[in-house]
Amino acid sequence: MLFQLVKAAGFMLGGVIGCAAYFWGTSFILDLMFPSKGKSGAVASRNLRITNAIRPWLFLGPALLALTVYLIYPVFMSLWYSVHDRAGQNFVGVSNYAWMVNDGEFRQSIYNNFLWLLVVPALATFFGLVIAALTDRIWWGNIAKTLIFMPMAISFVGAAVIWKFIYDFRPEGAEQIGLLNAIVVAFGGAPQAWITLPFWNNFFLMAILVWIQTGFAMVILSAALRGIPEETIEAAVIDGANGWQIFFKIMVPQIWGTIAVVWTTITILVLKVFDIVLAMTNGQWQSQVLANLMFDWMFRGGGDFGRGAAIAVVIMILVIPIMVWNIRNAAKEMKGH
């Protein structure tokens, strides 16, 4: 164990020194090969041009290499694997996709993923917006915000344990130690094994992600609300608008852009949701989602890489519209600068 820590520290130090040596060393060699100091005007300016053309690529080199190996190459390879058999050797055309369309569990996952997509971003953004608006008006708003933001630091697995404890079920008549069932029983209801109720269990799982993501939405929307010009609100007050009107008709329309960013960011996260489902139900009781299904086929389904990759491609396709939208926005902003 100690050896492991020493090794980690060693690698870290080695990595940092290696990086520094690479960046410093390549710069040094470049300056040595094309010196611009102490040379005559024409040579100096030619060498300066060359070093200026090469240096950005030296700075970018390691990052481009890592991005290519870990993200770009895999995207194309996943496409390739998705049209090959389980071991990735024989071309099988679209049969993995054909299997997928006819597979009951895949359809269940798609259906559940759409439920998640409809509910989680909407609720998290809505709660975030309301909480941001409310906490901006009270003196202990910052403390409240910190506490609501806190679940963001908790892992999905940790959150799953926290909520599984809340949903804990004991048979009727026994003392309930799960908060939700205790409340239900206190109001005279019958205790339920919440996470085993088909269809509804999806919502009990979504509650966990909403709980985690509301803080993120709140922080960003709170900053956006503070950025609204004071005059627009004052004008509305003078015109006799009430609190609701000011909020929904004056403030919200001015931050649509930020709301969209929050919404899409959470949407991406929802598409990749895996840990929560794995820890809570592992896809049982009709709560399967794409990311967990993919994991099942990669490992537990006997390692069918073809089908696993096909499911990954579906997740990627669902992400592409948001990716295009993001790139467009970034391009627009770059032109604005």
């Binding site: 492991q4 870290m12 700075f59 990052a63 008006r137 609190g243 990669m298 890489f305």
Partner: protein, 381 residues
Amino acid sequence: MNPATRSPLMWVVHLSVLLIVALWTLPTAGLLISSLRDKDQLAVSGWWTALSTSSQNTVVRAPGPESQVEREGKFVISGNLLEGQPGQISAFGFNSREPTAFKAGETAELNDGEKLTVQADGNFEIVSDKKMEGSRGQRVFVTASSPPRFTFDNYAEVLGAENIGRSFINSLTVAVPATIIPIMIAAFAAYALAWMPFPGRAILIAVVVGLLVVPLQMSLIPLLKLYNGVGTILGVPAKTYVGIWLAHTGFGLPLAIYLLRNYMAGLPREIMESARVDGASDFDIFVKIILPLSFPALASFAIFQFLWTWNDLLVAIVFLGAGPDELVLTGRLVNLLGSRGGNWEILTASAFITIIVPLIVFFSLQRYLVRGLLAGSVKGG
């Protein structure tokens, strides 16, 4: 300044925020309180009753006839039903239909002429005129109330027996290098993308923005194959710490480059130009001016990346493995959910150990986290 702040509606605002805060903190509070409770109490009463004396009905079996002693012509079995635990017995019985038929201190006449006396402190006596027979002890139903008990036993147990300590070290081994290495690489790239003019720069920035949202799932199968191939060629295992550090580096780079580039692009141009006039090279400018000025953005990304790598489950089980020696905390916790699903004392204590480090990071460095979020999202929109 706002008329609404003086209206009675303010009370509604205070109350609703209070309610929301309660809703958002109680789940975690319940976990923490439960992890500190005695495991027998945790199993029978909700954590919100942790401070009250709990009363529970249990069945205990007295020692069998082999432990009887002869005293003054009578046969006696004696002992303590609570087995030394603190608590008070209020009622007892020997029949499941009337488990509370007798009060503590009373004597019950059992079916076969034996007499059972149970005291409030748990001491009991079974007295019989003739020698008792049979192989099993008398069943006794007791209603015992026990004072609230808090203990660190649950933590001691999971750290020792459940290998949580080992996983804690594993998580640390994964998270720290996986946080430091991408920062170095990303900072240089971000500087090039922000301040060095070269053809294709705009396209590269667009690529980075696009890669921000590529699902991790796309990378798993090809990288696993790649790692297996590299492992075979070099004769090393495919699942190593180096492998997972580099994987986290690759997955974290788009956000790192994006955040740092946005921040560096906002630094004043004059500083760099005056340094260049003084004869400083790009390398000098970057190391001596840009890096120190970018500290807030570097800190923001470091926090994101640390939280993400510490909390990650998927990358860890795919690239590090699920064997008992390699499991990180999140993986260990998922396993415990399967194997010890009903043992809440183990689950709550383990879960708290996994979330304590991110919580400390969160509360101590929240400022940078918020700043990073804003830089990443508001500007990006």
